[in-house]
């Protein structure tokens, strides 16, 4: 054993993994993995061999590259571009884009498994990766060959980052009322207007902008790419947020911003459709990020229950907390099943995929937020401290109930599906 311990200060991140069974109980808190492995809450339950392998790699990446940094990224509001590019090298930058121009070519279900695993390490950073994936897919699926050949290789490696621009200061849930305009002028579109709550804005290199090229309503919307540095494109001050602090949000302004007509994705008037198609996957993605946050919170709460002693015994012995933990795990597994079911529906292009994605997003984001909140409660006063990650999972996952279509809009979409005469 002597050689194992020599030069301990040189130990790399990997070294932590390696020590023999005599050391198994001494590993650091953040590098721990898989306490709930093989339990009823194990996220690998029901997955095939390759999916489990992908998941394990994503969990390893989350434990080693994300989890040790999540508190600092949150506190200092750091956009971890280097780590994002490391993630992209492994294929996380364009998970469900086709392989033709550098996408990874996996399914929505695979993507959900990946984002869930990554979010155990940092929910906020994973959420940005998932938004970037949605943007890349919109170009890959609706863009012509030239646009795909130009952008997918750079987006897949995250050499260029992207932002999705739909919401406006005056158009949120009523997205089809958006008022940013793009007027054709010869071989250019001239954009005017503002987009609000844009994730990644200021840092991102490519803005996928939904803007009005025609009539009022959803049919007059087009999807146009605007590169950072285009004259007339500017950013307002960085917003101060409750969570999601590892990527910036700013208002994006367009003032006589001219882009070539070749930057149009799909055809004129197709923009709203593209935006909604993107969001179907986006909803599965944020819901998957909620699953990861909730799983990590559950795991840490479970761990805490074994260590924390009150009234002379570890608090795992109190039935109230036992039952609470059981409920949290049940909510988590139910959420996960709904999310994966919706992902499969999207993969299969099922007719009711929109409603299933909406249901899954509604259920999973609300239940997983509650799981994070309960986990914080189990931690007592410690849970409220920023030294412990549970409060961060709670803060980061709260916004998932608001964005990618509010959960009120999810209810609207589900009820509309139910009340349609068929």
């Amino acid at each position: 054993m002597a050689t194992l311990f020599k030069r301990g200060h040189h130990m790399s991140r990997h070294a932590v993994n390696i020590l023999s069974n005599t050391l198994r109980n001494n590993h650091s808190r953040l590098h721990k993995r898989g306490i709930l492995t093989a339990s009823c809450a194990d996220p690998s339950n029901g997955l095939g061999v390759e999916q489990r392998q992908i998941q394990q790699m994503a969990l390893d990446f989350a434990a080693k590259e994300l989890a040790p940094n999540m508190i600092e990224w949150d506190e200092k509001e750091i956009f971890p571009l280097g780590t994002l590019r490391e993630a992209a090298k492994l294929g996380f930058g364009a998970v469900y884009c086709k392989e033709e121009f550098g996408g990874t070519g996996l399914t929505r279900l695979d993507a959900s498994v990946i984002f869930e695993a990554l979010a155990t390490g940092c929910c906020s950073t994973t959420a940005y990766i998932s938004i970037h994936n949605m943007c890349a897919w919109m170009i890959d699926d609706f863009g012509n060959k030239e646009l795909r050949a130009q952008w997918i290789p750079q987006l897949a490696t995250m050499e260029k980052c992207s932002s999705y621009c739909l919401t406006e200061p005056g158009a949120g849930s009523d997205a089809a009322s958006l008022s940013t305009t793009a007027k054709k002028d010869g071989s250019h579109y001239v954009l005017n207007g503002s987009k609000a709550f844009i994730s990644g804005s200021g840092e991102a290199d490519l803005y996928i902008v939904m803007c009005r090229t025609g009539e009022a309503g959803s049919k007059g919307v087009s999807c146009i790419l605007v590169e950072k540095g285009t004259p007339g494109l500017s950013f307002a001050k960085k917003e101060r947020k409750l969570g999601w602090n590892s990527h910036p949000a700013r208002i994006v302004n367009f003032d006589e911003c001219r882009v070539p007509v070749t930057n149009l994705v799909g055809s004129e008037g197709q923009g709203f459709n593209i935006a909604m198609k993107g969001l179907n996957g986006g909803r599965i993605n944020v819901a998957s990020c909620s699953l990861g946050a909730a799983y990590a919170a559950l795991e840490q709460a479970r761990d805490h229950m074994k260590i924390r002693k009150q009234f002379g015994k570890p608090i795992e012995n109190f039935q109230y907390l036992q039952f609470r933990l059981a409920e949290m795990a049940t909510q988590l597994v139910a959420s996960r099943l709904m999310v994966r079911n919706a992902a499969v529906a999207l993969d299969n292009k099922d007719a009711n995929a929109v409603a299933l994605c909406s249901m899954a997003k509604l259920f999973a984001t609300e239940e997983c937020f509650k799981i994070c909140d309960y986990a914080m409660q189990i931690f007592g006063g410690y849970g409220y401290l920023k030294d412990y990650p549970v409060q961060q999972y709670m803060r980061d996952s709260r916004v998932h109930c608001i964005l990618e279509g509010t959960n009120e809009i999810m209810r609207l979409l589900v009820s509309r599906d139910l009340l349609t005469e068929r």
């Binding site: 054993m1 002597a2 050689t3 194992l4 020599k6 030069r7 040189h10 130990m11 790399s12 991140r13 990997h14 070294a15 993994n17 390696i18 020590l19 023999s20 069974n21 005599t22 198994r24 109980n25 590993h27 590098h31 721990k32 993995r33 898989g34 306490i35 492995t37 093989a38 061999v49 390759e50 489990r52 392998q53 992908i54 394990q56 790699m57 390893d60 990446f61 090298k89 492994l90 294929g91 996380f92 998970v95 392989e99 990874t104 070519g105 996996l106 990946i114």
Partner: protein
Amino acid sequence: MSGLRVIVGCKRVIDYAVKIRVKPDKTGVITDGVKHSMNPFDEIAVEEAVRMKEKKLASEVIAVSCGPTQCQETLRTAMAMGADKSIHVEVDAATYENLQPLHVAKILAKVAQEEKADIVFTGKQAIDDDCNQTGQMVAAILDWPQATFASKVEKVDGGLTVTREIDGGLETIKVKVPAVLTADLRLNEPRYATLPNIMKAKKKPMAKKKPADYGVDVGPRQSVLKVEDPPVRQAGSKLDSVESLVAKLKDAGLVPS
């Protein structure tokens, strides 16, 4: 020198993060429903072999694992990291409980001969039994030189220069190939398998063999009498003065009275 063929031994072990539990009948540890992964030292060996291939020192990397069906997952991991193909030597679960380094060494030696290998690379030890024997035994069986506990491997004319981690520091030796190498902790930092490589790995060839195919008798040479938990640390007591500490030490005969 170019075109070395490298065999890498990949043992499937209980994951390092799992809390080990001894079976109630003390015949071994609980493995059912327990997370397993590739022995981390073997992972380092795979990484080094793949780097040798990337540097065009090696022509082919073949991962080998002996054990139950689940070992195929370990081999897929090795192939996702960059091994070209793999050989699963299936040993049923009951026999596997008594499979010992000598058995595995005999199998690896035979595989090395059949595959015309130039290097057999293994981890220096497995984190489950901590035996630290297999690589050395392979070298003895084949009568090849061995370079164990490698923390650096470089190509030189006619062989390899290997830096070894020994108790006194570092030792640098030169070995001719064919040779047996075992990987120490600081040899490298294994890569993450990329998503595309994980998908490609499922198309790489995996041969399925039995110990009998190599003429190896896997009957046990040893029997395990019992497996026990490490002793629990005894509770200490607080003393109020140096005098009482010295008195206690004297009572225990730890200092001369």
